[in-house]
């Protein structure tokens, strides 16, 4: 039960965090200048966007949940089941970022979910 809760936080907070960072990046704009000084300016610009901080907070929560799950389960189980974030990412991108998800991508997500189910069933 506890594993399920941690997995839920890893997947939702991790994906939510990535979506927030992705949204922040779209606010900041595309990077064209890769010189160190320009990259530092880019980071400071990104840090002024609220979505960025929300994203960092959510990813931090996901990281500590990953550590908690690794304290009770094997790494060969934990990392593969976190692939469920591909499904969460597809749903999140569609609902939150209004991206169009192709049928091929949905097929891939479905196959990932089948794989995660098999790994989950292999649990001790």
């Amino acid at each position: 039960m506890l594993e399920f809760l941690f997995l839920f936080i890893i997947v939702t907070a991790g994906t939510g965090g990535e979506l927030c960072v992705s949204r922040a990046m779209k606010v900041v704009g595309e990077v064209h200048d890769f010189r160190p000084a320009a990259l530092v300016r880019f980071v400071f610009r990104a840090m002024r966007v609220g979505w960025m901080w929300l994203g960092i907070a959510m990813m931090t929560l996901a990281f500590f949940s990953l550590l908690a799950m690794l304290s009770i389960e094997n790494v060969s189980f934990v990392v593969p089941v976190t692939a469920l974030s591909y499904a969460a990412g597809a749903f999140g991108a569609m609902l939150f970022l209004h991206e169009r998800i192709s049928s091929q991508r949905w097929l891939g997500v479905l196959i990932v979910c089948i794989g995660v189910t098999l790994v989950w069933l292999s649990r001790r």
């Binding site: 506890l2 790494v75 934990v78 692939a83 098999l118 790994v119």
Partner: protein, 130 residues
């Protein structure tokens, strides 16, 4: 050649980072009752664990390699290639940590790799350019 080296970094350092985090957390142990004082005690152990910091360093190397390779290589090439890290993490868990990996888990990991490969082969841009 440059792309292959960076993909190799991605496929090795992400699983290695996770394996080191796992090693660190197994040594620290899990919280008994998940009460705040218990969690605080574990957090203190986490920030003073060498394995955890090594794991974070490996994950940072992975992250930088991933970001850099995306500046010249296509996402649709990088993402499927990095799906091998799911198999590598199981192999490292088996060989370095002595974890038991049952056949069903190997099969599940293989299916996940196929799924990620298909996801990665879809077009990376799904919205029109502004």
């Amino acid at each position: 050649m440059k792309t292959s080296i960076f993909i190799l970094f991605i496929v090795l350092f992400a699983p290695l980072g996770n394996v080191l985090l796992s090693k660190g957390m197994k040594r620290i142990g899990s919280a008994k009752n998940w009460v705040p004082s218990d969690i605080f005690h574990i957090l203190l152990k986490i920030v003073t664990s060498g394995y955890i910091w090594l794991g974070i360093a490996c994950l940072l190397i992975f992250f930088v390699a991933y970001m850099l390779v995306l500046t010249w290589a296509d996402y649709s090439y990088v993402q499927p290639a990095s799906s091998f890290s799911y198999a590598v993490v199981a192999m490292l868990g088996y060989f370095l940590l002595g974890e038991a990996v049952p056949p069903l888990r190997w099969m599940g990991i293989f299916v996940i790799c196929v799924g990620v490969f298909i996801v990665g082969h879809t077009h990376p841009r799904t919205t029109e350019r502004a």
